[in-house]
C-alpha cells in the first residue's frame, strides 16, 4: 500500500475540480509496461496510475515486462490491454517487435513508445500511436500517456 503525503507532487497529479467527473471504479484500465529500467517503470506506474485514478479514466492495473521476450509473452497471455508503453531499447532486442505484435493481434490497443534514441520513425511505422523521447520531462510524458489512454489522437515525438 502506498502512503501519500498531503500536497506531494501536485504538479504531476492535480486535476482541477471542475474537470472531474464521476469515475466508474469498476472499470479497470489494463496497462502493459515494457521497460528494463525497473525504477523508471515503477515511478511511471506510480505517477500515471495516480493521474488516471484522479482524472476521468478510473483505476489502472499494470503488467510489467523488462525484455522483448517477456513483453511478447504478456501480449500473448494477458491481452487485450487498453494501453501499452514500450521502451525501444531492451536488453534482448528492439521493442518495435512488441509494438508490431500488439498491433497485429490487438489493433485497438493504444501503444506509446519511449526511447532515448532520436529516430523513432521505425516504431511509428510499426503502428505505435505515440512516440516519446525520454529526454522529454516527466510531466509531458505522463500528460501524453494520459491523453492516449483517453483515446485521443496520435502525436509525434
Amino acid at each position: 500500500m502506498i502512503r501519500w503525503t498531503p500536497g506531494a507532487v501536485q504538479w504531476l497529479t492535480s486535476v482541477p475540480t471542475k474537470e472531474r467527473k464521476p469515475v466508474d471504479r469498476t472499470a479497470l484500465m489494463k496497462i502493459l509496461m515494457v521497460e528494463d529500467h525497473v525504477f523508471f517503470s515503477q515511478a511511471l506506474e506510480l505517477v500515471l496510475g495516480r493521474r488516471l485514478s484522479e482524472g476521468l479514466l478510473g483505476l489502472a492495473t499494470f503488467h510489467r515486462a523488462a525484455t522483448v521476450e517477456e513483453g511478447l509473452r504478456l501480449v500473448a497471455e494477458a491481452s487485450p490491454f487498453d494501453l501499452a508503453v514500450v521502451d525501444l531499447m531492451l536488453p534482448d532486442g528492439d521493442g518495435t517487435e512488441v509494438v508490431r505484435k500488439i498491433k497485429a493481434y490487438w489493433p485497438e490497443t493504444r501503444v506509446a513508445v519511449l526511447s532515448s534514441i532520436e529516430d523513432l520513425s521505425g516504431a511509428l511505422e510499426a503502428g505505435a500511436d505515440e512516440a516519446i523521447r525520454k529526454g522529454t520531462g516527466l510531466p509531458e510524458i505522463v500528460a501524453r500517456l494520459e491523453r492516449l489512454a483517453s483515446g485521443e489522437g496520435r502525436t509525434r515525438a
Partner: protein, 132 residues
C-alpha cells in the same frame, strides 16, 4: 539554470530539510525518481537539476546527497554524499562516495534505501517499499 522542486512545498519550509539533488540524464529519470522519493520522504527537500547546472546549485545551498551520472568533482565539499548512478552504463550499480553497491534488478526501493542511508533524513519512516 534549470532547477525544479519535486514538490509543491513552501521554499522556506524546505530550507530546514536535508537537500537531495538529482542530476541524472535523461531528465525524465531524475524527475521520476525524485518525485517518488519526495512522496515517500517528506522530511527531505528533493530537487532535480540539469547536470550542467549542478555545480551552481551546490554553491547556492550545500546538499546532503547528490545523485549524478558523473563522478564526484575533486573540489566537492566533503560533507556532501555523492551517489553516482548511470542507468544506461551500469543499471544495477550505485557508487556512493566511490564505493560500488550492486542491486540486482535495481528498483525504487533500492534507491530509497540509498537515500535513507545517506541523506541524513531523521524523519525517514523506515516502512517497506511501496512496490511488492
Amino acid at each position: 539554470m534549470t532547477m525544479e522542486a519535486a514538490t509543491d512545498h513552501d521554499s522556506e519550509e524546505d530550507e530546514g530539510k536535508p537537500l537531495v539533488l538529482f542530476a541524472i540524464e535523461p531528465h525524465s529519470y531524475a524527475q521520476a525518481i525524485g518525485s517518488t522519493i519526495a512522496h515517500l520522504r517528506p522530511g527531505l527537500d528533493v530537487r532535480f537539476v540539469k547536470p550542467e547546472d549542478l555545480v551552481a546549485e551546490m554553491e547556492r545551498r550545500t546538499p546532503a546527497l547528490v545523485f549524478c551520472d558523473g563522478p564526484r568533482p575533486e573540489d566537492c565539499d566533503a560533507a556532501v554524499r555523492w551517489a553516482q548512478f548511470s542507468p544506461y552504463d551500469e543499471p544495477e550499480v550505485v557508487r556512493v562516495d566511490g564505493r560500488a553497491e550492486r542491486f540486482p534488478g535495481l528498483g525504487l526501493e533500492d534507491l530509497l534505501e540509498v537515500v535513507d542511508r545517506h541523506s541524513g533524513d531523521g524523519d525517514a519512516t523506515g516502512y517497506g517499499p511501496p512496490f511488492g
